[in-house]
Symmetry: C2
Subunit: 221 residues, 2 copies
């Protein structure tokens, strides 16, 4: 059975995902230990979700290259709707995952503008003494997890004047300096504003938003 992202989210909640505890173990040459480092967890939660969905009779497809966007195709046939990305971050820190590579995302929207409507399923976890605990999950659109920043209209990771990744807002925090965008249009405007301001794109990408909106027409119905 294929289900949409909202139904999947609800199924996870109903399946007691919140406060669920997990253990990662690696055994080799007589060493049999639980994993205590956080870096592996992001990869594992995605693979865990494959299993969980299969065990619960939920069908899905993936890209042949599982490193490509998106992590899950929830629609039985379409590669343009039902796109689901999985993100995760540590409960003790602010969201620190990369929403997307800035340049690649900007480029992709001019020809694959349907990606703007992808869903993001986000796991908030702790990893203490080898035990993973899922503290919360969210289902969000990209504009709901992105925000402005002091330097650019879109919060990005910027080192030595080079923009690398789109970085998330603290969307669940009441004390965050910048709150997420209200809608898709605000988010796209913030990308255009960032492109206008960024030295690498300020002369070349003036028409980016129009290209995206033009491309998007074929996916609206």
């Amino acid at each position: 059975m294929y289900i949409d992202a909202q139904t999947l989210y609800q199924a996870l909640i109903n399946g007691w995902i919140i406060n669920a505890e997990g253990v990662i173990k690696f055994s080799m040459l007589g060493v049999d230990q639980t994993i205590k480092e956080k870096s592996a967890f992001g990869d594992l939660i995605q693979e865990w979700l494959w299993w969980w969905m299969s065990e619960n009779g939920i069908e899905y497809r993936t890209k042949e290259n599982t490193q490509e966007f998106p992590d899950f195709l929830l629609d039985k046939t379409s590669n343009e709707k039902g796109l689901l990305e999985i993100k995760s971050f540590d409960y003790t820190a602010s969201p620190n995952f990369d929403v997307a590579n800035f340049e690649a995302y900007v480029r992709s929207l001019t020809t694959k503008s349907y990606r703007i409507d992808a869903d993001y399923l986000i796991f908030w976890y702790t990893l203490i003494n080898g035990v993973v605990t899922i503290k919360n999950i969210w289902l969000k659109k990209i504009w709901e997890i992105c925000c402005p920043s002091e330097k650019f209209p879109l919060r990005v990771q910027c080192k030595q004047d080079m923009i690398y990744n789109i970085r998330p807002a603290n969307w669940y925090s009441e004390s965050a300096n910048y709150t997420p965008f209200q809608n898709k249009k605000q988010f796209l405007d913030a990308i255009q504003g960032t492109l206008n301001q960024y030295h690498k794109t300020s002369t070349t990408h003036r028409n980016w938003l129009n290209e995206v909106l033009n491309n998007y027409k074929q996916y609206e119905n």
Copy 2:
């Protein structure tokens, strides 16, 4: 007991690391499965080595931030010798790990030139049906795993005229187009040549090699 990288390498070989089989498991909400995706393995092998060394009475230190270079400090007191980095790659592919971020590595050598002598312990593995098998390990210096390329004197990852990472040679292949550097000097010359040719550094980094050699004087003895 603190031991040097060569002794650690030999201890792993003597401890039957080659052809050792390992299993990664993640259990949560009734799903209890072996991990089949390769992306988590690089993180896990490092944590595995922590345990293996502890179980075998081998002492080591790490940086407080374990994401920083190097992965292991093998010397009891010095942070300038006994530096060990861990790398891994899939047996079915060419080496595809990042040796180092190019700009960060280049920058670091001008003030921390001792990093040039760090050891690289490299794991070659397969991951089939959830079973990791270590096919080989190597202990190498950085110049022994780097090589020239057609575009630059040093093989680097270059996208849209931007250099990102230093990429490895196929050092164990007899049919590789480019073989590794013969010595430290060749490797440093290749970096300088790449800096001279790269648009971001061609005017600013003409004196890089001299700076590095100057800095290195204090670590020679």
